[in-house]
Subunit: 456 residues, 2 copies
Amino acid sequence: MADIEAAVIEDVMDARRVAAIREAVAAENTARVTELLEPLHAADIADLLEQISKSERRALLHLWSGEIDGDILSELDESIREEVIEGLAPDVLADAVRELDTDDVVDILEDLEEPQQELILDALEDADRVAVEQAMSYPEYSAGRLMQREVVAAPEHWNVGQAIDFLRECETLPDQFYHVILVDPRMKPKGYVTLGRVLSSRRDKMLRDIQEESFRTIEAHEPEADVAYIFNQYHLISTPVVDESGRLVGVVTIDDAMNVLDEEHEEDMLRLAGVDDEASLSDTVWEATKGRAVWLFVNLLTAILASGVISAFAETINQMVALAVLMPIVASMGGNAGTQTMTVAVRALATRDLTAQNAMRVIRREAAVGALNGIAFGLLMAVVAGVWFGVPMLAVVMGIAMVFTLVAAAVGGILIPMGLQRFGIDPALASGPFVTTVTDVVGFFAFLGLAAWILL
Amino acid sequence: MADIEAAVIEDVMDARRVAAIREAVAAENTARVTELLEPLHAADIADLLEQISKSERRALLHLWSGEIDGDILSELDESIREEVIEGLAPDVLADAVRELDTDDVVDILEDLEEPQQELILDALEDADRVAVEQAMSYPEYSAGRLMQREVVAAPEHWNVGQAIDFLRECETLPDQFYHVILVDPRMKPKGYVTLGRVLSSRRDKMLRDIQEESFRTIEAHEPEADVAYIFNQYHLISTPVVDESGRLVGVVTIDDAMNVLDEEHEEDMLRLAGVDDEASLSDTVWEATKGRAVWLFVNLLTAILASGVISAFAETINQMVALAVLMPIVASMGGNAGTQTMTVAVRALATRDLTAQNAMRVIRREAAVGALNGIAFGLLMAVVAGVWFGVPMLAVVMGIAMVFTLVAAAVGGILIPMGLQRFGIDPALASGPFVTTVTDVVGFFAFLGLAAWILL
């Protein structure tokens, strides 16, 4: 065990190792840099390159660029990747991309500018170049872009022994494969057999007799989000991709699907918070400022709209300044309750748990939750407002306004994402400003309107 | 292709099929219910059970409960699962759990109450029961709970032929396995070979000569969140789990890791929005109300605190009601900018992209972004406020307050999650109220304080 433990510790990218690497880079000690980086996984090296500053990155690449391989390029965040590729010698770049599977090359190409794309395509061998160009001809974010074109397929009528003999003789197997796909003479997939079943069956067993019960193909034009959903929903490990005529053209494996799922999550989370969904920690100040400004601008408009409501009640506030003190509480509670419901709704739409079947029930439930919390917090705030300002009717206004606002927040929080989805707009992207507008306007209007009516 | 297409369409859970199932349930037509449900994947049946109402669910189970198998139970959301298990006949339940791998049984057991746990344990065969009880002895949310105990291991000195012969003779192989793990005589893992390599190598090839270059083990007590991170970071497909003395005790496969990753994402997203992280669409009104109330209460306290700041400037507002109209704009912009930064920070901490290495650089960047957007929106709002109320100095106050607030939002938005993480508190859970308090208090104080100082 001792040697394994040592190996595990050696692999780890900890603060000590990072400090040592930075020192070695500063001292321009190539041998030491290599010694420290060499045992690391490509993913960890990519993380390191992302986390150090731009000048340190340049210095490190200067000392060590010859060792940058395809796996590291694959793992790098796109903003950094472009920078790194620019700094690589053409032959290093060529070696790096040649060792990758086509799906990884496509993944790298997608995010690059035209001249860099040419550089990489030129570096590939002819067959690979054709494969990559074919993949790039599928729409962005489609299964065709995601799949690897290296497939392991066998005729339906083969037995286990024939499959094993074929695999032993095959010279270019994909890095990763988990099934032998059964195809008919026109290359149309008919089923698949897990490698575990192939290995544990006798040589004379027919492949079709040990194929998996459940079998799905994906059409190359399907959006990658649907691919991720299918993998997650049906616990797939790999699945054949077919063209429009049903012929096998590639395979999507679970690591790609997991990646898409991860990106979709990140997108939803960032979009809900109004952050550019391609934001990365390595963005410059200027990129980040622009990415945030769009949403802040939209929020400014909704805030001005809400201020317009307040402005209509300026006379009322002038007669009782306590209203100005208390009104942000109503709006804030509304905003929070709206965000709660909206987030639940956006998530449920993404996981396809919120459907036409249960929409009415969920809307009713949310409205009831809003009413119950409205009553609870309305009573609480009525007491607080009454004690604070000594005006009993102000307490009544506060309580009623809270109920109105929380019910509006709940109903708006679910109807707005559902409505956006219906019109083909990503609910994660656009729900926030609409929901905030509803809660602010209803909150201020209910509170100040009731005050003007009851109090004055 | 025609038959495959037909099969694919048959598998789909569309609105038409759901409507047909509901009709059949209402008509108590067992044959028709079975015919409609039979071709569906367990995951889709589970979704259907989650989406129909409680009374429909009871009616459907009454007609069809004999067919509920382990896979469907596995796929069900826990709130519904408990209800379904209660309704099953003991022998149906026993059959259902007996066909599952131990990790799936453990997953089901975890969420059940004591008496239901006993029911299921009693249904298992002795060997499985021991395995499940051992797994349950590991801490909740640990690799030990996540792993399947069925492993495929071979001595290091075996060759490919020996491995294949062993697999062919083995009677109880796991449903899913992707590697043959190489172990020493004391069952300590030394490496592993992908099934693809075993299949494509000659019988006399030594397993140790075709083992994977990169090899990691996971200790059974490691938190499942770390397991998910390792799978995602290193693109693993399965990985051996060892006990404290380094002996092989199980295997975690990627579908389990993907599940954990998915749950972690959902947790972060819901927690950020202040929703109970175990919330589900099938929660009752009362459960949902309680789950949301905690956060709303915390938000009420911070809102009252912010109102206290306004209250201190009541005299100022009394002299110029325009302040009451404009102040929510400052607070709202601060709140949104704070949420943007906080979300980026929480996500980056979760993916381990924000580390001690780049913390200072990211904090500086966020502060700069806050300052730039503060200046841009400060200028914009100064113009709006100046034109709206015709008071030039009010425009100045608005502009300066906006800069202060957005810088505070940016710095608070990143320092608060980092600080919470340092103290071992989940930043997704607790950042929101702190950040809102900072932006509200700074926003109101800067705007009203400057107004009192400059304007009056």
